[in-house]
């Protein structure tokens, strides 16, 4: 086989793959990036339409994207079509695998919530005895968070909250509305901290691998991006045992191709990366590959309330509006009897409650909704899910995707720990609303099925031993030293924070290590 002209082959162009390309190409390393999806021209790909101009009047085609609760008739075409790339699960244990195949991946569409993990996540076992610690601590990753946040231009407020470390922020100096002050004070009385939402501002409020990482990598002249390359397997040299490239199929023609490189980096998103390794039959001497799937459970519109003083448009200027983020506050210094770990709250005031919350119909409903317009309080609960060995994925050899690649079978469900946590969250929120004098219209503790958060993690976990983990502390395969997995599959715990900043920082850290190992000739 001819010597490859590429040093590193990167699979995936989202946050993790993009950061690997960004870091490696700046060090003069020649990279080839493959992505299963096409490049997207947002101007050409999207057109303004009224709902009545759509075939199903905005309801969406019944049955299409039944697992993607985020899908609407407007955005249905941005998600991966399950009929083209199927997966399976027990009907009694639904899993919502939400995917994007475009250059930029899911970083095109994320909510841009940008948090650091703390040692409550990295050293979780030390804290409560459950599960495993990461092989790294907060101090190992902090220097990389410091570099990632300025690239993504994270706006936030430095509040010195131990469980949510401050970062290199564009300082959020905005004030609080009177309603928010009341809610924050009620929380503080109960030992619940609050901070401003931490958000990647990016450029033009667009914060993606697509506009923040890939352009700089391309500008070095060291990156080649090949879209529409559906990777089927990672190939291994039988003599050396090292990865030597990948076989992929061109998305539209299905022509099979082989690309080679000195090092292979997998950043195809947690479950696609795991599926690729399982289908390749590599990197699994531990038997752990595919296990410990976890995410964060989400309860949206968990408590819906109305702020009486803001009814009928009577709220004076500055009385209502805005929101905040309450990081995990349970099981930090005390131990709750009903569950381990904790949850975060993403709350806001000033919205308008949905019609379903009003026990009315007809003209009376219209009047009530008009009265409560802009007077609402709502909150999303995001809870930590315990990583468990029996929460797993495997290959279903009986089901193939449109390219003949075996599909994934997902087996996971939430447990009493998560359900108890959800109950506590709702009771706490309701108590806070009552303390503020707000009228609770609706409450529920029903989380979406696993996967909904689009924060799937852990199926290719890192660790200190090749017997119990797939990767070492540098995101490097224990079995194949020139193979790295840099996405969320490497996580050991997931916390209650959005994981993107941690994925980006891990990828940057792994890439710097990789570059140094390549310079030394170790890989």
């Amino acid at each position: 086989m001819a010597e490859s002209k590429y040093d590193v082959l990167i699979i995936g162009s989202g946050a993790s793959g993009g950061m690997a390309a960004y870091t490696l190409t700046k060090k003069g390393i020649k990279c080839l990036m493959l992505d299963a999806g096409p490049p997207i021209d947002f101007e050409r790909q999207r057109v303004s339409k009224a709902a009545h101009e759509l075939p199903f009047r905005g309801f969406g085609k019944p049955g299409k994207l039944s697992h993607v609760f985020q899908a609407t008739e407007f955005n249905a075409n941005q998600w991966v079509d399950e009929t083209q790339v199927p997966y399976t699960h027990d009907p009694k244990e639904p899993y919502n695998w939400v995917r994007v195949r475009m250059i930029g991946g899911k970083s095109l569409f994320w909510a841009r919530m940008s948090f650091r993990f703390s040692d409550y996540e990295f050293k979780a076992k030390d804290h409560d005895g459950y599960g495993d610690n990461w092989p790294i601590g907060y101090s190992d990753l902090a220097p990389y968070y410091d570099q990632v946040e300025p690239i993504f231009r994270v706006r936030g407020r430095r509040d010195g909250i131990q469980q949510l470390p401050d970062g290199v922020f564009i300082e959020d100096t905005s004030g609080e509305s009177e309603s928010n002050k009341r809610f924050i004070a009620a929380a503080r009385e109960r030992g619940i901290p609050n901070t401003k939402m931490r958000t990647s501002m990016g450029r033009g409020q667009f914060a993606s691998s697509f506009n923040l990482l890939l352009p700089d990598a391309l500008a070095t002249g060291n990156l080649t991006i090949v879209p529409n390359a559906v990777v089927r397997e990672i190939t291994v040299d039988k003599n050396t045992g090292l990865a030597n490239g990948v076989n992929f199929l061109e998305r539209q023609s299905h022509r099979e191709m082989h690309a080679s490189a000195r090092v292979v980096v997998v950043g195809a998103s947690c479950l696609e990366s795991t599926r690729l390794l399982l289908n390749s039959g590599i990197a699994n001497s531990s038997g752990v590959l595919g296990h410990y799937l976890h995410d964060q459970f989400y309860i949206t519109q968990s408590v819906q309330a109305v702020i009486p003083e803001a009814r009928d448009g009577k709220a004076p200027s500055g009385f209502i509006g805005g929101g905040g983020y309450m990081p995990r506050f349970r099981n930090l210094k005390t131990k709750d009897k009903s569950f381990l770990r904790g949850y975060a709250l993403d709350w806001s005031t000033g919205g308008s409650p949905d019609a379903k919350y009003f026990p009315l119909y007809g003209e009376a409903l219209q009047k009530a909704m008009e009265s409560c317009r802009g007077a609402g309080f709502s909150c999303t609960v995001m809870g930590e899910v315990l990583p468990r060995a029996d929460s797993q994925v495997r290959i279903n050899k009986g089901v193939n995707d449109a390219w003949g690649i075996p599909a994934l079978h997902v087996q996971t469900r939430y447990s009493a720990n998560e359900f108890n946590m959800a109950k506590d969250a709702i009771a706490t929120l309701e108590e806070l609303c009552h303390a503020c004098g707000w009228e609770v219209l609706g409450r529920h503790d029903q989380m979406f099925p696993p996967g909904y958060s689009i924060h799937e993690l852990g199926t290719c976990r890192m660790g200190n031993s090749p017997k119990s983990s797939v990767l070492n502390k540098w995101n490097q395969s224990w079995d194949i030293k020139n193979l790295f997995v840099v996405d969320g599959s490497s996580f050991v715990t997931g916390g209650s924070q959005n994981p993107t900043m941690t994925i980006l920082s891990l990828s940057m850290r792994a890439s710097e290590y990789m570059a140094e190992q390549m310079r030394k000739g170790e890989i």
Partner: protein, 197 residues
């Protein structure tokens, strides 16, 4: 490749909330498209502007009940079109014809149940009862909201219809026109993703 060239395709900010939320309404009923070879642009209309839905799904009695129910749930208010003007029942007949068997049963059994209740209590079909009588049969809609749908099939259908009729009305061409004329708020619209080749 220069950064500017790489990102020049980006005209908007596709963040998750922006994409999942509804954008400001597109005002057009008919739209102007670029035309090659002619100076004049061609104008197109949507089917709803020019034709009526052919009904397939509900029986005549079920559909009559749905029309009555739709009018009760979303009547015209303060110049905004009601569900009947918005042809919400006709649209729902189409939508249900495409929906899952569970959803179809929910509506069929619920509407049949509503007719049966009206017959039993007032010796009339639901379509023929008066407002006071209807208020009695729709009592479940005045119960506080719970996450789980009611176990009673009529109450479950009423809850689904409250949402569906309202949405079909707000997303209608007629509502969009009223919003454009300043007679009501909103009018569903947004950026539509074209299919990827």
């Amino acid at each position: 490749m220069k950064r500017r060239r790489f990102i020049q395709a980006l005209a908007a900010t596709p963040t998750a909330p922006a994409l999942l939320a509804q954008a400001p309404p597109a005002p057009s009923v008919a739209k102007t498209i670029p035309n090659s070879g002619n100076d004049a642009a061609l104008l197109y209309a949507t089917p709803d502007a020019a034709a009526e839905t052919v009904l397939h799904f509900f029986t005549a009695q079920q559909f009559a009940a749905l029309r009555k129910l739709s009018d009760l749930l979303s009547p015209p208010v303060n110049g905004a079109p009601g569900s009947l003007e918005a042809k919400a029942p006709e649209f729902l007949d189409f939508l249900l014809s495409q929906s899952s068997a569970d959803r179809q049963q929910l509506y069929r059994i619920g509407l049949d149940g509503l007719n049966a209740q009206a017959k039993r209590r007032f010796n009339k079909l639901f379509a023929d009862i008066d407002a006071g009588q209807a208020e009695m049969l729709l009592a479940s809609l005045r119960e506080p909201w719970t996450y789980d749908a009611p176990s009673d099939p009529v109450a479950a259908m009423l809850r689904a219809a409250k949402d569906d009729v309202r949405r079909a009305t707000l997303n209608s061409r007629e509502w969009n026109l009223a919003a454009a004329a300043g007679r009501t708020r909103g009018g569903g619209g947004g950026l539509y993703w074209l299919p990827i080749d």
